[in-house]
């Protein structure tokens, strides 16, 4: 099984709104796959549909050869899928330690992983006892990524890790994702094309709730026209739209 995750033609509704109208994405094991697209293209909803937070009404999600659509979110996550939501959704009223501790799926998870986590994000060790709302934006983002590393996850869904970060922190975050991707498969959503193109091997472009393009990142970097068509101004501004 080369593919850890196969999403096949999923349709997802939020309330009455038809958000995803047939998204198909395949994530190859031990590689970084990125989903690109404009705001509102359905990237975040795709991640949430995988996890069952917004369950798809049609289509299949296959994880490690098993269909998982329709299962409850906690059940899906327990299969070894870690989630780093956008907007650094850490638990602000919990301390850094508790934010990590709560992600344990069995006792001792945090202890065995703490060396690796502090190696990636040395700041967190210093801030260990502080409540989450005392952390800066960058530190919160690192905590959100670290939290997904505590349990034994085989697949990480990371939503816009560079959002609102200073350039130097983006570099640090990229380095961290590169290191952790050696042991874990990563499905990334990223608006920062420079960052995405440096990290990912495979790309998917979403537009209006559909997958419209896919391929190897190396080819996309050459295809200025395609980038312009679907990612709009993202590239010209050197990152964010």
């Amino acid at each position: 099984m080369d593919n850890i995750l196969e999403i096949n033609g999923i349709h997802t509704y939020i309330g009455q709104f038809h958000i995803l109208e047939g998204v198909s994405v395949t994530v190859r094991r031990n590689a970084i796959t990125v989903m690109l697209g404009r705001n509102g293209a359905g990237k975040t909803t795709t991640l949430k549909s995988i996890l069952g937070l917004t369950p798809p009404r049609e289509g299949t999600v296959t994880y490690n050869g098993k269909e998982i659509q329709g299962r409850r979110a906690y059940d899906i996550a327990s299969l070894g899928i870690g989630y780093v939501p956008e907007h650094r959704a850490i638990f602000r009223n919990l301390s850094v330690m508790e934010n990590l501790k709560i992600a344990e799926r069995k006792k001792g998870d945090l202890e065995s992983k703490s060396e690796f986590i502090f190696g990636l994000f040395p700041d967190l060790k210093r801030l260990y006892r502080l409540p989450g709302n005392h952390l800066s934006g960058g530190q919160q983002q690192m905590l959100a990524v670290a939290r997904a590393l505590v349990a034994d996850n085989q697949l990480l869904l990371i939503d816009e890790p560079s959002e609102g970060l200073a350039p130097i922190l983006i570099e640090q975050m990229m380095e961290a994702i590169r290191i952790l991707s050696a042991a874990t498969t990563v499905l990334l959503v990223e608006q920062n094309f420079v960052m995405a193109s440096k990290l990912a091997e495979h790309y998917y472009i979403l537009d209006d709730g559909r997958t419209v393009h896919e391929g190897k990142m190396a080819d996309l970097v050459e295809d200025k026209e395609l980038i312009h068509q679907f990612l709009g101004t993202a590239l010209h501004k050197g990152g964010r739209s």
């Binding site: 996890l51 937070l53 329709g70 299962r71 409850r72 979110a73 906690y74 059940d75 996550a77 327990s78 989630y83 939501p85 959704a89 638990f91 602000r92 009223n93 919990l94 508790e98 501790k101 709560i102 992600a103 799926r105 006892r129 502080l130 409540p131 005392h134 939290r147 349990a151």
Partner: protein, 496 residues
Amino acid sequence: MRQGFFRRNATMVIVLGLIAVLGVIGWITMGQQPFVRTALSGLTIGALYFMVASGLTLIFGLMDVLNFAHGTMFMLGAYLGWQFYTNPTFLFGLFPLVLALLAGLVTSPILRGAFMHLKVSEKAQKTIQTAVALTGIAVIVLAVRGLDILGLAKTAMVATMTMGNPLAEASAQEPLALFWFRPVLMFIAGLLLATASARPGDQTQVVYASDKRRAWIITGSLLVLTVIATVFRESAPNAVLLWNGNLRFFAALVVGALCGAGLGAAVEVSLIRPLYIRPLYQVIVTLGLAYVLRETIQVLWDPLAYQMTRPPMFSQPGKAENILAWFSGQNLTVDVLGVTFPSYRLFIIVLGVLMVIALGLLMNYSRLGMIIRAGVQDRTMVEALGINVRRVFTIVFMLGAGLAALGGIGAAPFIPVQPNMGDAFQLQAFIVVVIGGMGSYSGAAIGALLLGLARAFGDYLALKYSLSPAIAEASTVIIMAIVLLVRPAGLFGKKE
């Protein structure tokens, strides 16, 4: 770090400081005796407010459910705890039936696996479901029809505790030869209801092997318990009645709280859970439930007000010179700083403080508490971490209902036990929750303290200056208005 502590707990420090300043002013202007008496009364009420409000705030903060049946749990705790204290025959007689029904209900996953592959048209599915559910309810009615212990409920309320002959209150029950069919029918009713909830023919459902295995184990152990409860239902009440009165009272506290918790779990699973997608309906369901439960209580116990006797520990005649003297004398009243105060009310204050501490430890140092605090802020993310949030919801609902019921049985010896006894507490608890901030248990503690004191000092002032006693009742609302003006989210509210 020390500086950080003050910054983080600024609100707490300010509010407690304010109470302390007001206390000093009160002490000086009122004189020691009236001040101490009023403050102690305030703490007593505050302790009860806390027990109702803490559950309410956690349930609202975590689940967004405004539980209007919370005051009813308070009332039920009082009735059931008191039953256990004076004449547990009713409870022990009912116990096997409840266990049998539960044993039937928990088979749902097994039945789902068995019936979901039946070939039934979609229209027929609905009809079958309704028909089976109605049959189940009919079987329940059949099972409790003519049950003699239903009448026993009332005898406990007029029971006089005879020291010489504790078994005077014990009443005969129908013989096992007649009784056995009731638990059996209840089990069948449980199976029918489980079948209805399993939606036979609906092939879109997923059944996990682990769920089935767990269902078999739970059903089996519940059935064993049912048999045990059936056999011992006659001897157990007599054994309990022979216990020392104090022991029985503390057991009654536990039993009342457990009954409340059990009922809370049943309510959450059966009524609240299906309605998480329709939050407004939840409010209406809890409101309706409050009425249904209150009417049920009136049928069983008549719409009367009863007075529970205090346990012997708090009812020996005379006054203890101080708390230490009370331990040997177990007197009705205790001298506190020159004020004669009922020892039972001091016990309620201690119970309230213990609950604040216990809940504080649970919330801050246990994994469950961590999950609850995280869930109050973002329950979707908690679920995305692989935590079964729904199960946590059930636990929190149980915890809240159990605490409210504990408050009820605790209050029973000094306020009249009647069907609407919880209403005033529920209203005040809502105000406490608003003042403290939705979802903050420490806010509930501070809010309950504030409101209890405001109530007591309001009463004192009203009496002193011959004002209307409505002043005291209004004072709590005035405090709420002021707090909301200064901090719209409540003192410790963080939820946006």
